[in-house]
């Protein structure tokens, strides 16, 4: 019963050849196309460089003011605005201003990109069960595969730098917005949809007057999750050359600098809390119509 003693695996040579084959094929692919793909992303890279410089070079009081105004517009809450101002001032006081601005820059671009890609994809998924069946497992993979694994092909293709970092962040941060857009649209009250249909709505009228507004709370939860997950990727992205708060954290890990790691780690936490509270408060305000005396 030799069969049961040892798992019938591929031989060592076959395995080596298989791995080699895949590696060489991808190597060839990236040698032939790497440059073209890199050029394709050039505009994005120029934009990111410009945006990061803009945030870093802007006078800090102006930036703090802008963050305070944004927090106010989003949350309409004095405590959150004060918290935002205090957090940024503290971050600056501890000498982390530039890294923080770099992180804010990549998070903003990544979130915008994820929203731009994720909402249309989520809408598509909600319209077709077939698309949903195809996309769902891909999203599962994107969320669960260890980030280091997809860093390998990204770096092989594009080298290290801002764009591969952005792609790595987006792979991780995209799924929640897609999922929650899909879910939100699918959960829209069937009778309300029927009413829209009965009054002769066109496809666009249904989508923009009924489905999107009613799915908004869920879509917004998706945006919130996307921001949080993008922030969570900051340290890993710094491994492939993205500037920001991740860089000192990484240095702290490899050199056992407890204080450095703690300070930059807490700065990431502060950003996360601010983004989360502001975006959640904004999401709640979008639903003020739900607060009524009687809820059906």
């Amino acid at each position: 019963m030799a069969l049961f003693d040892e798992f019938p695996s591929l031989g060592r040579t076959e395995l080596r050849d298989l791995k080699k084959g895949i590696d060489f094929a991808f190597n060839d692919f990236s040698r032939d196309n790497g440059e073209a793909i890199e050029h394709f992303f050039d505009p994005l890279m120029f934009f990111m460089v410009w945006f990061e410089k803009l945030l870093i070079n802007a006078p800090w009081p102006l930036m703090v003011l802008i963050f305070a105004v944004l927090a106010w517009l989003g949350a309409r809450s004095i405590p959150i605005v004060i918290g935002t101002i205090v957090s940024f001032l503290t971050i600056g006081w501890f000498g982390m201003w530039e890294d923080t601005m770099a992180t804010v820059a990549i998070i903003s671009v990544a979130t915008a990109l994820c929203i731009g890609l994720g909402i249309p994809l989520g809408i598509l998924m909600s319209k077709s069960n077939r698309v949903q069946a195809v996309v769902t497992p891909i999203l599962d993979i994107m969320q669960t595969i260890p980030s280091f694994v997809y860093l390998i092909p990204v770096v092989m293709l594009l080298g290290i730098g801002k764009v591969p970092g952005l792609i790595a962040v987006c792979i991780y941060a995209l799924p929640p917005i897609v999922r929650l857009t899909n879910l939100g649209i699918r959960l829209v009250d069937k009778e309300v949809l029927e009413a829209a249909e009965a009054f002769g709505s066109s496809y666009r009228q249904k989508l923009f007057d009924v489905q999107m507004p009613l799915a908004l709370p869920n879509i917004f939860a998706g945006v919130n999750q996307t921001i949080m997950m993008a922030l969570a990727m900051v340290v890993i992205a710094s491994m492939i050359g993205v500037k920001g708060l991740g860089v000192p954290v990484l240095r702290a890990v490899s050199n056992q600098y407890l204080a450095l790691g703690l300070m930059n780690g807490l700065a990431i936490v502060a950003l996360a809390v601010i983004f989360d509270r502001v975006s959640q408060a904004y999401g709640k305000r979008l639903q003020k119509h739900r607060q009524g005396g009687h809820d059906a």
Binding site: E191, A198, F199, G200, D209, V210, H294
Partner: protein, 348 residues
């Protein structure tokens, strides 16, 4: 015969992957239960034929699962039939292209829903404007027309409230105003008042009858409540398991139920509120000097007789005496018909 607005011909709906193949089986006498057991298909509508007259209230009633909501959704094609025709003003709705169908839904027919189906993120005003906005009516006219209907259903002052801030009855007034605002000739009402509590429901029925007095729309009203059906319907269709069991005026249904199912339905209703003096009169003339119009209901006539302390009265139609009624006739009419205890029927 009044002119026919909506004509439903040989309509079948069978839910399931191979619905069309099931039609011949239903024609050969398969029932809802046997179709489900043998072929795993659900019989929604079984050879429905109804002619709905213009400018009247047509009630379609049945218990849950009888296919009434399925039927009403065929009229504006929210559900596609398996076989059959729905003619509205002679045009087959089922043959319309997508664009024609949209146009038809925007202009010809509007709908009121059981759970109101209002847009929760829009104010009362915006909800009432909804149908007009889809039609592309310009803003000033839209607001003016909507305001008129908001006032008409008694919601003036609530224009800027959100639906969640209103009670159920008020929400359904919004639903009604939204449906009326498009000026569609046909109004579909799918259990429109069923979710409301009894007093509010009564209220809404009066509003509807009141509006109908001046609007004369073709209203198709779905309900499972026989009292409601008898109260507001000019004509009633009774459905069971997707098939039409009986159609007729409220009087006809109460006086001459088609089978035990219908008989069971009507056994608990207030007959005095449905039957008129004409339906229980006898030949001859009374000398009491009291007379009633032929369509006076017994509930109104009896106290008048009792107050006048007489036992008979004349029945008049267009000013002519066409017969007489006695108190005995009336009591006979109100008395419940013999029940058929021997035949115990159960309904799902």
């Amino acid at each position: 015969m009044p002119d026919i607005k909506v004509s439903i011909k040989n309509l079948y709906k069978i839910f399931g992957p191979k619905g069309e193949d099931m039609v011949p089986k239903v024609e050969d006498g398969a029932t809802k239960a046997s179709l489900l057991a043998d072929h795993k298909h659900v019989l929604g509508l079984n050879n429905v034929n109804i002619d709905i007259p213009a400018r009247r209230i047509q009630v379609i009633m049945g218990l849950s699962g009888s296919g009434k909501s399925t039927l009403i959704r065929h009229l504006n094609r929210l559900i596609e039939p398996t076989a059959g025709q729905v003619l509205i003003d002679g045009v087959d709705v089922l043959a319309m292209s997508d664009a024609e169908l949209r146009d038809f839904r925007r202009n010809k027919m509007s709908m009121v829903f059981q759970k109101f189906a209002l847009l929760p993120h829009r104010t009362v005003m915006d909800n009432v404007c909804y149908g007009l906005k889809i039609k592309g009516v310009d803003k000033a006219e839209m607001v003016e027309r909507s305001q008129r209907w908001i006032d008409r259903v008694g919601l003036a002052g609530f224009e800027n409230n959100y639906p969640a801030q209103l009670s159920g009855g008020m929400q359904q007034r919004v639903g009604l105003a939204r449906a009326l605002a498009t000026d569609a000739e046909i109004l579909l009402m799918d259990e429109a008042f069923s979710a409301l509590d009894p007093l509010i429901r009564k209220d809404m029925q009066e509003i509807l009858l009141d509006l109908q007095q001046e609007l004369h729309k073709t209203i198709i009203f779905i309900t499972h409540d026989l009292d409601e059906a008898l109260h507001i319907g000019d004509n009633i269709v009774i459905l069971r398991d997707g098939a039409v069991i009986q159609q007729g005026t409220p009087q006809e249904i109460v006086l001459d139920p088609a089978d035990d199912y219908v008989r069971d339905f009507i056994k608990d209703i207030n007959r005095a509120r449905v039957l008129d003096v004409k339906s229980v009169m006898e030949p001859g003339a009374s000398d009491t000097g009291l007379s009633f119009e032929a369509n006076t209901i017994l509930e109104k006539a009896m106290p008048v007789m009792s107050k006048a302390d007489v036992t008979s009265a004349n029945v008049t139609q267009d000013g002519e005496v066409i017969g007489m009624v006695t108190l005995a006739d009336m009591i006979g009419g109100i008395a419940r018909p013999e029940s058929h205890e021997s035949e115990q029927v159960t309904y799902r």
